[in-house]
């Protein structure tokens, strides 16, 4: 089996470049170098992309024999016949640059906005995997709900820039905490993980790959999901005029629906109008319409409800507990003395009476 990246030393070099880029992009008081850092980071990502995308192509092994040393000498060489999907590299670049900018931007609001960018790019990556439901759930839940909550808290707790102080940054946002050792440790982990991925993935066999490609009965057609929602198959069959309006999908002798995902066929019988077959009806077998398959949402929903019913309940309990916990924590009253209230009101431009003066205008008891 092929090694995905032949020569890990090139990968280490690129990760060092990325580490230097992230270090330069870190917030500091003087000598800000975000642009150079981001350029270095993009260059590192581009290098890894080239390594991943083109290293198996013929020119590399001819022009640069050192470019990939196969880790497994007996393995086949991976020679892609088509260019890799450009959208993957686009979304990957946006996701990682957004992530780097998120951890390096001194202003928390912009960090949150860059995280939204990362989420949208990740949703694009997930969309490439034909997981539409998760892609849109990521955007709706993460970008729409969680990040808006973060933005509320950020706006509650940070100072807005004023005309006198256009920067107005807090010291804890400007100075990074131990950047050198953190980046060293972080990129060591990224490097170790990546080389493990490069070496280990080829040894990871997907489920029944060989049968999957050669045996039509094993190919994924969603037969199990369709059996759970036979109305959709009935509707598709009626729309294609394959069955008559009064015909329904028949049940076998064991009571199960006659739907075969492997052969893409279904048994239909004339119904009595109440969802049951008429007495003595003859079952005939029809093929599914071309291109009929359960959608991603239906498959995920089926897997969720069929496979993990207990986990849904536990997730509900977790959400309820989180809500209760947040309410309990946020309801806690902080005592503010009258002097502090007076100072705050004066800062806002009101003129309340000093604490202690009875009956003053605008004083709230």
């Amino acid at each position: 089996m092929e090694a995905v990246v032949g020569n890990p030393f090139l990968l280490y070099l690129l990760f060092t470049l990325g580490a230097v880029g992230v270090f330069l992009a870190m917030p500091r008081e003087r000598l800000r170098a975000e642009i150079i850092g981001l350029l270095l980071g993009s260059a590192a990502f581009g290098g890894v992309a080239v390594l991943l995308g083109y290293q198996g192509m013929v020119w590399s092994s001819e022009a640069f024999p050192w470019f990939r040393l196969p880790l497994d000498a007996s393995g086949d060489q991976y020679v892609p016949t088509v260019l890799p999907n450009p959208y993957f590299y686009l979304f990957g670049l946006v996701a990682l640059l957004g992530a780097v900018r998120m951890i390096t931007h001194p202003r928390p609001v912009y960090a949150a906005l860059h995280f939204i960018l990362t989420i949208i790019a990740t949703a694009g990556l997930v969309l490439l995997l034909a997981a539409e439901f998760m892609a849109f759930a990521l955007i709706i839940i993460y970008a729409g709900a969680i990040l808006i909550t973060y933005l509320f808290v950020i706006m509650l707790a940070t100072q807005a820039p004023t005309q006198e102080e256009p920067e107005n940054l807090r010291s804890y946002d400007i100075r990074a905490n131990a950047p050198v050792s953190s980046i060293l440790v972080g990129f060591l982990m990224i490097g170790a993980l990546s080389v493990l991925v490069a070496k280990g993935v080829p040894r990871l066999e997907p489920r029944n790959t060989t049968e999957y490609f050669t045996d039509p009965a094993r190919r994924y057609t969603g037969g199990e999901v369709v059996r759970a929602i036979p109305q959709r198959l009935e509707k598709a069959l009626r729309n294609e005029d394959i069955i008559q309006p009064e015909e329904i999908i028949a049940r076998g002798e064991d009571g199960g629906l006659l739907i075969d995902g492997g052969e893409r066929t279904a048994g239909v019988v004339v119904g009595d109008g109440d969802g049951d077959a008429i007495e003595g009806g003859v079952v005939r077998f029809v093929s599914w319409p071309d291109g009929f398959a359960p959608t991603n949402t239906e498959s995920v929903g089926y897997n969720l409800i069929k496979g993990h019913p207990g986990a849904i309940e536990i997730a509900g309990v977790i959400l309820l507990m989180a809500m209760l916990g947040a309410v309990v924590l946020a309801r806690k009253q902080i005592q503010i003395d009258d002097e502090a209230k007076y100072e705050q009101a004066r800062a806002l431009g009101y003129a309340p009476a000093r604490p202690g003066e009875a009956g003053g205008e605008g004083s709230d008891a």
């Binding site: 999907n85 995997l129 993460y142 804890y172 982990m189 993980l193 489920r207 999957y212 993990h308």
Partner: protein
């Protein structure tokens, strides 16, 4: 898409028969690289930033990376459990966000600062 087997692309290529999107030579490793890098960046951010809110944002970034790995492994094994698990990851992330932000608001009201090092004296 049966010709994929004949092309001898091997197990590293994401299986794609009967799935609508063309993955054009992408392998499991491509996605895992992005996932690993995103997780590492999130970890670096958690270690380097001193702003409490951004530290929690970095944990969300690590959740994202784990979720991406879950989806791509689910695709690799032609199993929807990966995507189902991402739903639970989203649930935990939402619960974590609400609790963490409530804590941050509480800490901010006490110390008028989002600096994590203000609370250093909490160490035992």
């Amino acid at each position: 898409m049966l010709e994929l087997a004949d092309a001898g692309l091997g197990a590293g290529v994401l299986a794609q028969a009967d799935f609508p999107a063309g993955l054009h030579g992408l392998t499991l490793a491509h996605y895992l690289f992005v996932s690993a890098a995103m997780f590492g960046i999130g970890m670096i951010g958690f270690l380097t930033r001193r702003n409490l809110i951004i530290m929690f944002l970095c944990t969300e970034l690590m959740f994202q990376a784990a979720g991406l790995a879950l989806v791509v492994f689910g695709r690799y094994h032609l199993d929807f459990s990966g995507q189902t698990f991402l739903i639970f990851v989203l649930t935990v992330a939402a619960a974590e966000a609400s609790m963490a932000l409530a804590l941050v608001v509480l800490l901010f009201r006490r110390s008028e600062s989002l600096d994590a090092s203000v609370w250093q004296r909490l160490r035992g």
